[in-house]
């Protein structure tokens, strides 16, 4: 694993290694001193062309807990807003010696361009590109599901049923989750009005449905996607009220879920649109926990990409002992 661009690039072994490593990282986060020396002397650049406080902070915390030096490069207020190209920004970061670049960009494929165009040698982590993918979000979602739905034993999500509901068409979270969960053996059902279902979704490794109520009864986890109200103006659906009546999760609908099922949301939520406040704040909701797990998963991703010699396909998960060895 040299870059993390798409969950579709991960083998099952890669994905399990990332999740297992994240478990170790989570235990670090629960210590009084939440810091490991592992990436000391390495530089991680957070290159954010879109506003995303939560993802940026999560990556920043992850890198700092691994003792990396962190540079936050927000496109607004930098030369990018004066028209510097992605290429020139990449050349600058290369010249500064960035070991990893965490990139959030509005254009689908921008991280893939960084990784392949020959502008920069750093490891590239996709922190969300257009409506393409958001791999660390999918990893933290899978991590959260595993803790709740497969807390012991082989910890496999094989056969677990996950509903992903909402604006699948524009959602990078849905794409990364669909690919990762299929790799992990879970059964994914995408639920959306037909206008918000991607063209060609028949070829994805998922089921699809236009009817949320029938899907809920057999779901182990339901993930609600943010719906931008501006989609309404583009005739994807008639009104916010109709959308939330047909595809929103309220307590009446939540009651159809099996007893053990969890409710997830990648945030930020539109309370009252795709999810009601009482559902978001209910005991089934693991939304806040997703945020906590995000730091652990991103620590695992940075660790596995930057600790070099470790080959994701063959190495066993890191232990806390491994991570701390060499500490002076």
């Amino acid at each position: 694993m040299r870059h993390l661009l798409s969950t579709g690039d991960l083998s099952r072994d890669d994905a399990v290694l990332l999740l297992d490593t994240a478990e170790e990282m989570l235990s670090v986060a629960q210590r009084p001193i939440k810091k490991l020396p592992t990436l000391r002397g390495q530089t991680v650049v957070n290159l954010f062309f879109e506003d995303s406080t939560r993802t940026r902070i999560s990556f920043e915390a992850a890198a700092k807990r691994l003792s990396a030096d962190v540079i936050n490069f927000a496109a607004k207020g930098s030369s990018v807003s004066k028209g510097e190209s992605l290429k020139d920004t990449a050349l600058t970061l290369q010249a500064m010696g960035a070991d990893a670049v965490v990139i959030r960009h509005g254009a689908s494929g921008a991280p893939a361009r960084l990784a392949r165009a020959g502008w920069i040698d750093s490891a590239i982590l996709n922190a969300g590109d257009g409506s393409h993918e958001h791999p660390t979000q999918a990893l933290l979602d899978a991590f959260t599901m595993r803790r709740h739905l497969a807390p012991s034993g082989d910890r496999s999500l094989e056969g677990r049923r996950v509903a992903i509901v909402g604006d699948v068409l524009h959602s990078r979270v849905a794409r990364s989750n669909a690919l990762l969960l299929a790799t992990l053996g879970a059964e994914v059902t995408l639920v959306a009005p037909p206008t918000l279902m991607p063209y060609g979704v028949e070829s994805w490794p998922v089921e699809t449905s236009y009817d949320l109520d029938t899907v809920l009864a057999k779901s182990d986890a339901v993930m609600m996607l943010r719906v931008q109200t501006e989609r309404m103006n583009a005739a994807f659906f008639p009104s916010a009220r109709e959308y939330s009546r047909r595809y929103g999760l309220d307590s009446r609908r939540m009651a159809k879920l099996p007893e053990h099922a969890i409710v997830m949301h990648p945030g930020p939520m539109n309370r009252g649109m795709e999810i009601t406040a009482d559902v978001a704040d209910s005991v089934r909701s693991v939304i806040v926990e997703q945020v906590t797990n995000g730091v652990a998963v991103r620590m695992a991703a940075l660790y596995l990409l930057l600790s070099g010699a470790r080959d994701a396909a063959t190495t066993s998960p890191a232990t806390t002992a491994d991570l701390t060895e060499g500490q002076a």
């Binding site: 190209s85 409506s131 794409r175």
Partner: protein, 438 residues
């Protein structure tokens, strides 16, 4: 002017003969012609075709001389075997007045590498609101007969109807860039399985097909002539086939890149493959090849679209649409149509020379290789091959999608009215000097 004898050329890929060129005209065709007092061009193993005619070239001048100029674009055309290119109107300023089209036409004549027939804009500023002065452009020294808002679709049905009607007065043709604008807002690539996975906004086939269907019906209704630019889908082929069977006066073109490349290339996110209309599926490619062989698609046109490197060396969404194609067109046609047995060389001459000249109503190009005809000739070596390297292009721009691909064939020589613009595979630079003094 020097007289030439081309020795042992295979005329249209068939009989081997010598061709004598005197005073810009084919003076004699036969075997073992007398070669005293002439320059002899050895054409052993080479095919002689009539000079190629492109109905769809972007020369970028005036306005984007950082991408291409009339001079560099016509040099590129000559290197590709072309003797006439139609220069698209989406320059800056737009070629929507007699003044601009005459300027472009004159620049072509001055440089002398390849004739330039300017295309006039259909609407003022390509804005799709008001007809440009089509008659003035038709009556100008440039004698414009092809009108197009290429890059943009004349989407307003009434405006399209009026344009089709109006050009009947001077035997013009409307070359439509068929793209329903609302269905393609923000579109980045072919809408299909891959666009959904890549998260790139889709450009659905229906956005092209709906406009072509409307336009052929309009052309029938007003009894005018329609040309469809860069047709790219199987459905479009079916509509054009249907229209022709009804006797509607419609012609259509396909680009070399749509005959060879597919949307799978978008998975690289390398915008060298970003083009409008987008690369389509392998099934569409198969349909386009069959339709070109059948004659349902009349011609190959390059849509040569030069861009400076910074417009391609970026993320996909920020990149410009388009790819260069003049210097690779004949090779791609050989690879996709001749080497596959779909078309013989006489067919290539028809689709790349005779028919495009006929659609553009240019009488002096696209002529047969026969005594008394203007000596517009290309000598082509079909047994050569090369791996395409962007740095080798004669065009000012390097945005070729064939980088690293091995393509067959090589243009060895091009003659424009008896004067070589290319010899030994190299553009002849003193051409312009000779033209001015002639």
């Amino acid at each position: 002017m020097t007289a030439y004898v081309i020795r042992n050329a295979s005329i249209l890929g068939a009989d081997v003969a010598d061709v004598r060129i005197v005073d810009g005209v084919i003076a004699e065709i036969g075997t073992t012609l007398d070669t005293s007092d002439v320059e002899v061009i050895d054409a052993d193993g080479l095919i002689a075709l009539p000079g190629l005619v492109d109905l769809h070239t972007h020369l970028r001048e005036p306005g984007r001389e950082d991408a291409e100029t009339v001079e560099t674009g016509t040099r590129s055309a000559a290197a590709g075997g072309f003797t006439l290119v139609h220069a698209m109107a989406n320059t800056d300023p737009v070629a929507d007045t007699a003044g601009v089209v005459e300027q472009v036409w004159r620049l072509g004549r001055e440089h002398g590498y390849c004739d330039v027939a300017p295309v006039g804009a259909v609407t003022v500023g390509l804005a799709g609101e008001k007809l440009a002065e089509l008659g003035a452009m038709a009556d100008s020294a440039a004698r414009v007969r092809v009108f197009s808002d290429d890059g943009k679709c004349v989407s307003d049905a009434v405006l399209m109807r009026r344009a089709l009607e109006y050009v009947k007065a001077f035997d013009g043709v409307i070359a439509q860039h068929a793209q329903e604008p609302r269905l393609t807002e923000g579109a980045q690539m072919n809408e299909g399985e891959l666009s959904g996975v890549l998260g790139l906004t889709g450009w659905p086939a229906v956005a092209e097909e709906a406009i072509i269907a409307r336009d052929v019906l309009l052309a029938e209704h007003v009894g005018s002539r329609l040309h469809v630019c860069h047709l790219s889908t199987r459905g479009s082929v079916e509509i054009v086939r249907w229209a022709k069977s009804r006797g509607i006066d419609v012609t259509a073109e396909v680009t070399p890149h749509h005959l060879l490349l597919t949307d799978e290339l978008a998975a690289t996110y390398d915008p060298i493959y970003k083009v409008n209309p987008p690369l389509r599926t392998a099934d569409d490619v198969a349909a386009l090849r069959e339709a070109l062989a059948e004659g349902v698609i009349d011609i190959v046109a390059t849509d040569h679209a030069p861009h400076p490197s910074e417009d391609k060396d970026c993320e996909w969404a920020a990149a410009a649409f388009g790819m260069i194609g003049l210097e690779t067109a004949l090779s791609v046609v050989q690879h996709t149509m001749v080497d596959t047995g779909l078309l013989d060389w006489a067919g290539v001459a028809d689709r790349m020379s005779a028919r495009p000249a006929a659609i553009g109503r240019v009488a002096s190009h696209g002529r047969p290789l026969a005594v008394g005809e203007p000596a517009n000739i290309v000598l082509y070596d079909p047994s050569a091959s090369r791996v395409v390297r962007p740095e080798d292009t004669v065009s000012m721009s390097r945005n070729t999608p064939y980088r690293g691909i091995e393509l067959p064939g090589k243009v060895v020589a091009t003659f424009l009215r008896g004067r070589p613009t290319v010899l030994d595979g190299t553009v002849v630079d003193e051409a312009s000097v000779e033209e001015v003094s002639a």
